[in-house]
């Protein structure tokens, strides 16, 4: 794990700021976040993703330009705000990242199982993150509208709801422990309510995002993975049905929210 040592030490004892009133501190943090909006390093990953989409790669030396992300082969604009969805060819509900992986397997000949097992931030996982960043960016400011026409999409919504409320781990946490009520926060971090549309560019509508704390670009799969880590849950498989179902639940709830992805986050 990457962490600047001096900052790592802070993590144990978050600095107390005695001279600061509550209001001033949160205003100060809003000001800080606003300052970071101009010049989001996600741009670097976006450019890389676009390049990777058009590059001949893999054992089949092919591009991804014929990849079908839900709106037909090669259509990129607008797909992000309608994923996850059901795909007839794989007969599965897939999110952006698991669908991209399918295309890397079918079009380019990559070994999907191997890539799914690769830790985030390494090898072809970096490819998936960059691709997801670019594809998300192509739907910037569009509004979420996940399809629920297919029975399996509705089943996955119900499954995702159960995942969202599932308490477990050593701390009995569920997603709802932190994201089930309006206006709550952990430390100074505001928590979006995810049982309904939390607003434009919040929650599901903000990932992939660049995280300033570790200088990493994260897709939704990694975001959910880290939620589960902090929940003290065991490790969710990349593109597993649990994570895709949860995404369907979050995405359907976010209907109408404008996407700001790729965002910049703390």
């Amino acid at each position: 794990m990457k962490r600047i040592l001096t900052l790592g030490a802070l993590c144990l004892g978050v600095l107390s700021l005695p001279a600061w009133s509550q209001k001033t501190a949160s205003q100060g943090i809003d000001e800080y976040r606003a300052m970071l909006q101009d010049g989001n390093p996600a741009d670097l990953f976006e450019a890389k993703g676009e390049d990777l989409w058009k590059q001949r790669r893999g054992p089949k030396n092919a591009t991804l330009e014929q990849c079908d992300l839900g709106k037909g082969p090669g259509v990129v604009k607008g797909v992000f705000v309608e994923l996850p969805r059901y795909f007839a060819d794989t007969r599965r509900v897939q999110d952006l990242e698991s669908r991209l992986l399918t295309c890397m397997v079918t079009l380019q000949g990559f070994n999907g199982e191997e890539i799914a097992k690769t830790p985030f931030g390494r090898g072809e996982q970096n490819t998936l993150t960059a691709l997801a960043t670019w594809i998300a960016a192509e739907s910037k400011n569009m509004r979420f509208n996940l399809p629920q026409g297919h029975q399996e999409e509705r089943t996955f919504y119900e499954l995702g709801k159960r995942m969202f409320f599932m308490r477990g781990g050593t701390h009995d946490f569920s997603c709802a422990s932190c994201h089930g009520e309006e206006g709550k926060r952990i430390r100074l971090q505001d928590l979006p309510i995810l049982t309904k549309n939390p607003g434009d560019g919040v929650g599901f509508a903000a990932w992939p995002a660049y995280r300033v704390s570790n200088g990493q670009m994260w897709g939704m799969q990694q975001r959910l993975n880290d939620c589960y880590r902090q929940q003290r849950f065991p490790y969710p498989g990349f593109g597993s049905d649990a994570t895709v179902a949860l995404s369907v639940y979050l995405g359907v709830n976010a209907k109408g929210a404008a996407s700001v992805a790729p965002a910049i986050k703390r």
Binding site: Y32, M35, R187
Partner: protein
């Protein structure tokens, strides 16, 4: 706005051409002053570029947030309206080494630059303008560093 795809394509071509013809810019303009980046105080860092003392000045401005949610990325900037500025320095007093960045300013740019620094802890942050006449003028601002949620 400029089409990004075109920009990138151009960039790559230019980089390739220059690499093959050896036309990379002359690094002599900015030979890295390693000693300056090893100093532990604001004054010592400034001394590494010549001036022997520093004076606070209203004509120099340091920009940055009052509070940084994460010390890994803290937006800071330096500027001055004074004519005759030669160099702008950005420093974080309590970092292991104080100097963050030094900019050689020419008449072709505004004496206003902004970047992002790492901060290990809450600290005074300095902008120093080294003038053509050898004076070093500074402005400072305290930036508090905290972290938001911390699940471990």
């Amino acid at each position: 706005m400029q089409n990004r795809r075109e920009t990138l394509r151009q960039s790559a071509v230019v980089a390739g051409l220059l690499a093959s013809t050896g036309l990379f810019p002359q690094w002599a303009h900015a030979a890295f002053n390693k000693a300056a980046f090893e100093t532990k105080t604001v004054l010592d860092a400034v001394k590494a570029y010549g001036p022997g003392s520093i004076t606070e000045s209203k004509d120099v401005t340091i920009t940055g947030p009052d509070i940084a949610e994460n010390g890994a990325v803290v937006p800071i900037g330096a500027s001055t309206t004074l004519p005759g500025v030669k160099q702008l320095l950005l420093l974080v007093e309590k970092n292991p080494s104080t100097l963050v960045a030094m900019f050689n300013v020419t008449d072709s740019i505004d004496a206003t630059i902004a970047t992002r620094a790492k901060m290990g802890q809450s600290s005074d942050v300095f902008a120093v303008a080294i003038m053509a006449d050898g004076r070093a003028l500074f402005a400072k601002k305290e930036i508090k560093v905290t972290l938001g949620g911390c699940g471990g």
